[in-house]
Subunit: 143 residues, 2 copies
């Protein structure tokens, strides 16, 4: 299944943050939406990285209460692998496994259009409940 | 594949925390081991809950820098689904998907012996790279 079709199927609401957001604003955003990571955008809307729960916890481990003085620009993960909506979910699955990612931003025409998470992939892996060979994700992953 | 056999295969080091640990100690532990959640033990070693990156971020969102004054006992998730090492990884996969968990503690004879994460399940889902029908996890999941 193509990632673009999958994102449409689940009617995903894109949640992002900005470089200048505070750590706390970012935590509130992640919490409100129940997500583990989100794309970080520059002032002109370009993808510049990802900010995850893991980043926040790592900076809290290092800085303690001074976490509250940090901004997203101090904490984001800048080396980001992104994928096209034309790519297959099976490719996202393999990329996550290879690099240990739990979230991959999806970019079309230079704009972020969504995020695929490890949970999306797990849900798809389960849904078959009968014949994995017929499953759009796993059947491709197995090729 | 049984969970007990899987945990032996990957030679998992069990990482836990105590109710009296500070939020920061817990964050440092999660970070050092590169994990997203760990079992919380009472003074006598009994499993009383799980503490995750998500719990820490939620309390930072709510409390800000006062997170540093909190202890694990203030933040843990107390309603915990655990599984036996005799259970199948496929069951863990389905439990994660059903409840939205990313980590399941494994308990034998009243003691925590390991944790199965969503990443473990993903890695297993990928490893086949050829014939999912022969895969010890997915083949069972598909029954």
């Amino acid at each position: 299944m193509k990632i673009g079709a999958y994102l449409q199927n689940i009617d995903q609401k894109l949640v992002t943050c900005r470089l200048g957001d505070t750590a706390r604003q970012a935590a509130v955003t992640l919490r409100e939406h129940g997500i583990g990571a989100m794309p970080v955008l520059s002032a002109d809307g370009t993808l510049v990285g990802m900010l995850s729960e893991r980043d926040l916890v790592a900076y809290f481990a290092r800085e303690g209460s001074a976490l509250e003085d940090l901004k997203v620009e101090d904490m984001l993960t800048k080396s980001v692998v992104f994928m096209s909506p034309e790519a297959d979910l099976a490719d996202a699955m393999q990329t996550m496994n290879k690099h240990g990612f739990r979230h991959i931003p999806i970019v079309a025409d230079g704009k972020v259009v969504g995020v695929v998470s490890i949970r999306d992939v797990l849900a798809l892996a389960i849904e078959t409940d009968g014949d994995i060979a017929l499953h759009p994700v796993l059947a491709v992953a197995a090729r």
